[in-house]
């Protein structure tokens, strides 16, 4: 398996030959940050195009097909339109909080984005509480959404942000418990370790059989709700709320919310890939050595992004198939069904681990 660590340490050694250590680390940090931001923007554009095409496919339409070949330039023109728009300041709104909120939302999702395992040795933030850190920084986004609603000094954003906050806080619980299920299976919270184990012993969804499959399904439901996407897109979906917590935003400030929403979709799918579908680990079938050899030749980043886009397709399928729920139905779905099921599932996984019933491929 190709290990990116050999490249990164070679670059680091080359940089150390030219400058002191702190300068080398500073330059590397800036370069990595720029890389992440670029990837962030590129994935957002790809996802918006994919969403439009997948949505059209599910609704028996064609989707964007006028701007460029197959409508490929549609998203770019939308981005340029967004960049040119004026940023309007509401009178009597709290300017500081109003302007701060989109940056908090984007920062939270970028920090979470940086935790994803791109390749073997290609982790950007990786330490022994990696998964916990990921959940922790993603919870900063809720503060941004609530401040957006309250700082705008308007009724629609306030109600929208309250709904979004209640929904995000509730669904974070089942996401946390399903993550704990995987942590119980792999015995570590370090993201690189979790993926390495899956590369060695088989993907978690196979290793943990029944409880892992249940956890994966719960994660798919809760992940969609955590991204504020349909059928859970109430904060911005109902006509009486206009656009929910970002009603009063215009131009790139609205663009940040939009960007963060799509990237949260990518992040939710990326976490599902990391936890259940093996991250960058290639597909191996025991006994077929030739097949495994061919699969090993494909780089880990391709595996990771490919699997992530597969999970994104599942999430979009979910979004465009089910009708929207009512707010009390959403909350009772979480508190009365998903959370008890995931708690029981955690117990089941603990039994599987204690009695050694997991499958090692």
């Amino acid at each position: 398996m190709f290990n990116l660590q050999s490249w990164t340490s070679a670059i680091h050694a080359w940089m150390l030959g030219m400058m002191p250590e702190w300068a080398a680390i500073l330059i590397e940090c800036v370069v990595v940050a720029l890389l992440i931001i670029t990837l962030y923007a590129v994935f957002a554009i790809v996802l918006i195009y994919m969403e439009r095409k997948v949505c059209a496919f599910f609704q028996c339409r064609l989707g964007p097909n006028r701007v460029g070949k197959w409508g490929l330039l549609q998203v770019f023109s939308d981005v340029f339109k967004m960049l040119q728009k004026e940023i309007i300041n509401m009178r009597k709104s709290d300017m500081f909080l109003h302007d701060l909120a989109p940056f908090l939302v984007v920062t939270a999702s970028m920090l979470t984005f940086a935790c994803l395992p791109w390749n073997k040795g290609g982790h950007i933030i990786d330490f022994n509480v990696g998964l916990f850190f990921m959940v922790a920084v993603s919870s900063i986004g809720v503060v941004g959404i609530l401040l957006a609603g309250l700082g705008s000094n308007s009724k629609y954003p306030m109600i929208g942000s309250m709904r979004a906050g209640a929904q995000l806080i509730s669904y974070e619980i089942s996401i946390g418990i399903t993550m704990l299920t995987v942590v119980a299976l792999s015995g570590t919270m370090q993201i690189s370790e979790i993926v390495q184990q899956q590369a060695d012993n088989g993907w978690n969804i196979v290793r943990g059989h029944v409880p892992a499959v249940i956890a994966f399904l719960i994660y798919l439901i809760a992940g969609n709700a955590e991204c504020n996407r349909g059928p859970f897109d109430l904060p911005e979906g109902e006509s009486e709320l206009t656009a929910g917590y970002h009603t009063e935003y215009s131009g790139m400030h609205f663009g940040f919310f939009y960007l963060a929403e799509y990237l949260n979709l990518f992040i939710a799918a990326g976490i599902a890939t990391t936890l259940f579908l093996g991250g960058w680990a290639p597909l191996h079938i025991a006994g077929l050595d030739g097949f495994n050899g061919v699969m090993d030749a494909i780089p880990g980043a391709v595996w990771f992004i490919g699997k992530t886009f597969f999970v994104i397709f599942l999430l979009m399928w979910e979004r465009w198939t089910f009708p929207r729920l009512r707010i009390d139905h959403i909350l009772s779905l979480e508190w009365k069904y998903l959370m008890p099921i995931s708690l029981l599932n955690l117990l089941l996984m603990a039994l599987v681990v204690v009695f050694g019933l997991g499958i090692n491929v």
């Binding site: 702190w22 500073l26 920084v137 919870s139 809720v142 306030m158 309250m162 906050g165």
Partner: protein, 177 residues
């Protein structure tokens, strides 16, 4: 000054400034937002010390939990439009007494532990944590659930009883017919 000390200064300035802003802000909502940055700075301090678990807990519980709770409380009351109450003489006296006591305790702790000596006599005493000094989450978990010398099982369970009492109380208040 190496990178470690520069980060320390940046975080310290951030914590100090946002703490002042929290206290001095006129609107309750802004105070909550500044408090968020102060708590984030403290989390950064923990990461700087190499205690990643406590840093993550700080972000999760304080930045993502307590601040959200404050904002919700402001949202559900009329707090967003409320201004601070007028400063009465007793209020000024009580808060001055309280802050002077806190300052005294703080200075006593600094003098007692001879922090200043070690800071000024041997510059560069503040160094980055080594790989071995970092506390892994396995260690934290073992101590949390052990009954041995450094075990925390009893306080851990006592806290869970407290949480249960809170949930029951919330239900009693919310379901009053």
């Amino acid at each position: 000054m190496d990178a470690y000390n520069i980060m320390f200064v940046i975080l310290a300035v951030m914590i100090a400034l946002s703490s002042f802003a929290t206290v001095l802000a006129k609107s309750v909502l802004r105070a909550a937002a500044y408090l968020f940055f102060a708590l984030l700075g403290v989390a950064g301090m923990y990461f700087l010390l190499g205690y990643t678990f406590l840093g993550s807990v700080q972000v999760m519980v304080y930045c993502g939990g307590i601040v959200v709770l404050y904002v919700f409380a402001i949202l559900l009351t009329r707090g967003a439009k409320d201004k601070l109450s007028e400063n009465t003489r007793t209020k000024i006296f009580a808060s001055a007494l309280l802050s002077l006591t806190g300052l005294g305790a703080f200075i006593y702790a600094i003098v007692k532990a001879k922090f200043l000596n070690s800071m000024f006599m041997t510059p560069g005493a503040l160094t980055a944590p080594t790989e071995g000094s970092m506390i892994s989450i396995n260690n934290v978990g073992q101590h949390m659930l052990s009954t041995g010398e450094n075990g925390y099982l009893l306080p851990f369970e006592a806290v869970s009883v407290l949480l249960l009492a809170c949930i029951v109380a919330a239900l009693v208040i919310a379901r009053k017919r």
